[in-house]
């Protein structure tokens, strides 16, 4: 036994010594390490839609204009100034001088034209090309002047040009790298340069030392204070939490379980920043399904759901109950929406169901003509939907409605919804302006998807079209107020809640201000620094 027992001590002791002697795996100084569960597919702005891709785009590239933190004010970007013709159909952008791509090539108006043409070219098959659909022609008047001619006036062109998907590209880099552009090579004008991408492990960018053209919405116009930024992909929630709490592999994440927040808020080594984003989670009724065609059933469901419980019990108070389709932080939201909304009132819900002829059966579930009131709800099996549906199931059972949960993985759900097999669906949608969500969901031309409710109201159609082009600000607000009123009154949705976000960071991280646009959180990280 004496001989046998010694075999392991040598290698184990040597191994342990090596680990202890080795330097700790701390990151290099002034590096921001962001933790998230999945990786982006690409950083070619015309190939992606994901939030996690968009936040990288803002740091690698610049856009012609920017949307301020208030989601209203348009501020300069690569365009120093811009002029809009009286009819609102011609935009003339004067580009900043001295802007260079990471490769050293100076930015010209021709690059802007190339980028926007590539974005709307059907051959590019950009999933976001509808954001520039109103543009008819793009002209590079001289090296520093770009002219955009529109088919009709647009209230949203500048919003769309401020999105990360409108990032300006270097045509030479696109030609040179072909299909590898956006994964193996990137050339932007942004505050950070592409350094390394180990797929599903880390995405690394380093400071662009020449950057001095940052937008005025940041205190520091450039170069960035951070040496580098690393996006680390950590799929497992607990692992991500460990690294952030210990401060060993991460110093900021937006992807931490809500249940941990009360504890993390008390940790002096961490800072929890809660902030609002334009987002709504809702139940949507498919008007093609007979069961929910009766408005009394839809209203009853609206009255029977206690939204405060969803926010407080499932999401630890990180958000607010929703009354209408628009987030209160988005311009155009109808401030008096509560007047038309449905308050929590189970008695009223029961009365509405009684009136509709649905009487309680032996097990409490309502019955009409021998048919039980059983309603399937489709949702993604994740992001808190299963818990939300379980709560709603209990609340609706209380008034005699049997909810059947149809939980599907993300890859499968869109096709099923498009086929229209849902009676009710639970879903969420980010938005920065009213058109982005109301036109998308409630215009009849968008049936069967994304208007998956098959909602038809000719008046709403007409108002939405007018909202895109109307010049008068007062009329603009009237239009969207009317649309929201009609949507709420039709009870085509049961709006559930507006989630807030929490960004959890090491106390050493300074001046990181989350941006609510497109739910990205990390816009240009110009002001941010990480202390030792």
């Amino acid at each position: 036994m004496r001989r046998g027992s010694g075999w392991w001590t040598g290698p184990v002791v040597a191994g342990l010594l090596a680990m202890l002697v080795a330097p700790p795996a701390h990151a290099q100084p002034n590096t921001l390490i962001i933790g998230q569960p999945t990786d982006a597919e690409s950083v070619d702005p015309h190939k992606v839609t994901a939030v996690i891709a968009a936040e990288r785009l803002y740091n690698l590239y610049d856009t012609l204009v920017n949307l301020d933190f208030d989601l209203e004010k348009i501020t300069p970007g690569l365009a120093e100034t811009w002029l809009v013709s009286p009819d609102g159909k011609t935009y003339t952008f004067a580009l900043k001088k001295g802007v260079k791509f990471h490769s050293g090539k100076p930015l010209t108006a021709h690059d802007v034209k190339f980028t926007l043409d590539r974005w709307r070219d059907p051959a590019t098959a950009s999933p976001t090309k509808h954001r520039i659909a109103e543009v008819e022609e793009i002209l590079a008047k001289d090296d520093h002047t770009v002219v955009l001619r529109l088919k009709e006036r647009s209230n949203y062109l500048l919003f769309n040009l401020a999105s990360g998907f409108a990032s300006i590209l270097n045509p030479e880099a696109i030609k040179k790298h072909g299909a590898n552009y956006g994964t193996l090579a990137v050339d932007g004008t942004g505050p950070f340069r592409f350094k390394e991408w180990v797929l599903r492990d880390r995405f690394v960018v380093e400071r662009n030392p020449d950057y001095t053209w940052g937008p005025p919405m940041f205190k520091n116009r450039g170069p960035a204070k951070l040496e580098r930024v690393v996006w680390r992909i950590i799929p497992e929630d607990t692992t991500r939490l460990f690294e952030l709490e210990k401060g060993i592999g991460l110093n900021v994440s937006r992807w931490i379980a809500f249940s941990e927040l009360p504890r993390l808020r008390k940790d002096p080594k961490l800072r929890v920043l809660e902030y609002k984003v334009g987002y709504v989670v809702y139940l949507g009724f498919n008007m093609n399904k007979e069961l929910v065609q009766d408005i009394r059933i839809r209203k009853a469901i609206n009255h029977a759901i206690k939204k405060d419980d969803i926010v407080n019990e499932i999401f630890y108070g990180l958000g607010a109950p929703a009354q209408g389709p628009l987030s209160p932080i988005v311009a155009g939201q109808w401030k008096d929406v509560a007047k038309a909304a449905y308050e929590y009132n189970p008695a009223k819900a029961r009365a509405l169901l009684d009136e509709a002829g649905w009487k309680p059966g032996p097990d409490g579930i309502r019955v009409k003509d021998g048919k039980r009131l059983k309603l399937p709800v489709h949702a993604i099996a994740g992001y808190g939907y299963p818990d939300t549906l379980t709560l709603i199931q209990a609340q609706l059972k209380d008034v005699g409605i049997d909810v059947e949960q149809v939980l599907l993985e993300e890859a499968a759900i869109w096709g099923r919804l498009k086929a229209g097999e849902h009676t009710i669906m639970a879903m969420g949608m980010p938005h920065s302006n009213p058109d982005e969500i109301l036109m998308f969901y409630f215009h009849s031309k968008n049936r069967p998807a994304p208007n998956r409710f098959n909602f038809v109201d000719p008046k709403v159609d007409q108002l939405l079209e007018e909202g895109r082009t109307v010049a008068d600000q007062k009329r603009w607000q009237e239009i969207y107020t009317e649309v929201q009123k009609r949507v709420v009154e039709s009870a085509v949705w049961a709006p559930l809640w507006h989630p807030d976000r929490a960004m959890i960071m090491s106390a050493k991280v300074q001046d990181l201000r989350p941006h609510p646009v497109y739910d990205v959180g990390y816009h240009k990280l110009l002001d941010v620094s990480v202390g030792r």
């Binding site: 036994m1 046998g4 027992s5 075999w7 392991w8 290698p11 191994g15 342990l16 680990m19 202890l20 080795a22 795996a25 999945t38 597919e41 690409s42 070619d44 190939k47 839609t49 994901a50 098959a125 950009s126 999933p127 976001t128 090309k129 509808h130 299909a179 590898n180 956006g182 994964t183 193996l184 180990v198 797929l199 599903r200 492990d201 880390r202 680390r232 992909i233 950590i234 799929p235 497992e236 607990t238 692992t239 460990f242 690294e243 210990k246 060993i248 592999g249 993985e409 993300e410 890859a411 499968a412 869109w414 096709g415 099923r416 498009k418 949608m429 998308f440 968008n446 998807a449 994304p450």
Partner: protein, 313 residues
């Protein structure tokens, strides 16, 4: 022997081809449309249709399979629908990461399990035997994600010796090695109990054989009896299990890779399946199938080396 090897190698062709057909069909039968996923939920229908055409998904399934196969035979596995990266590159990188992990796990699990098994057999009914077999039973019943999280909690979170997760640098750097330790420890750890128990029972059986008694009667030292006579014969079933366990290691790697954010083949396959990235799923399954078939062949060949009575014609 060469004839046997050639036949076995030829037999891998229908196996791999069958796997690829099966995977292709399952993928196309499963609900979920890659074009919708590439386009994102907010894209209008014309954009989705455009992307579908670009990806060739508007063609009949047979045409799609034939196109895939003819390209694959020329070494071109296509490009990932989502990342646009060459599948061969993505799979190669992920495969190497998993390979490093699985080999490291294999080596340390063998280094621990076989000595434990042998000592437990030789010192049968001793305290060591009883303790190690109870520990093995306990180890067999623990789920891998729990072991992984406990390892992180102890070695990274509490003691701070090792990084929590991630790939770190390349394997030959200290950073790369440090990142490899915990996932390899976890993945190998779950293989130790079964291997140790099997080694113990195999050695016990060998020790009761006549040739061992003869060896002892010759006056050979007990150490030599065990090492030369018993162990060599006891290893045959152990080698079989080692081969079979490789499949388990590849499967267990999915969980280990997720806990430790290790960018390997298991995670690649899961991501590809969840996003219905057809070419990427095909590529990962192809590599996994070829690996498994190859390991099984190697194990079969190893029999002949370990036991001269086994001959392949």
């Amino acid at each position: 022997m060469p004839v046997y090897v050639a036949r076995r190698v030829l037999l891998t062709i229908p196996t791999v081809l069958g796997t690829s057909i099966l995977v292709f069909l399952i993928l196309h039968l499963a609900p979920g449309d890659p074009a919708t996923i590439v386009a994102g939920p907010t894209a209008p229908p014309d954009v989705v249709a455009n992307i579908r055409t670009q990806l060739g998904l508007d063609q009949p399934v047979l045409v799609q399979y034939w196109r895939y196969l003819s390209h694959a035979l020329q070494g071109d596995l296509g490009r990932s629908m989502l990342t646009q990266r060459a599948v061969s590159e993505e799979v190669a990188v992920a495969f190497l990461n998993t390979f490093e992990l699985v080999i490291a796990a294999r080596i340390w699990s063998l280094l621990v399990a076989i000595p434990i098994g042998v000592v437990a057999a030789v010192k049968r009914r001793s305290i060591f035997d009883k303790l190690s077999m109870v520990a093995a039973l306990l180890g067999l019943s623990l789920p891998i994600f729990w072991i992984g999280l406990m390892a992180i909690w102890l070695f990274a979170f509490t003691l701070g010796w090792l990084p929590v997760s991630g790939r770190g640098g390349p394997l030959w750097t200290l950073d790369g090695l440090r990142h490899l330790v915990l996932p390899a420890l976890t993945l190998g750890g779950i293989q130790v109990p079964a291997l140790a128990r099997l080694t113990r029972s195999s050695v016990l059986e060998a020790l009761s054989q006549d040739y061992v008694r003869t060896a002892r009667a010759k006056g050979l030292a007990e150490r030599l009896v065990v090492a030369k006579h018993a162990l060599g014969n006891a290893l045959l079933p152990v080698v079989t299990i080692i081969g079979l366990q490789f499949a388990g290691l590849l499967g267990g790697a999915v969980v280990t890779e997720t806990i430790f954010s290790w960018p390997g083949l298991g995670r690649l396959a899961v991501t590809a399946i969840l996003t219905r990235d057809f070419p990427l799923v095909q590529g990962t399954i192809l590599v996994a199938a070829v690996t498994f078939v190859t390991i099984n062949l190697l194990v079969d060949l190893l029999y002949a080396v370990l036991d001269p009575r086994i001959k392949y014609a």
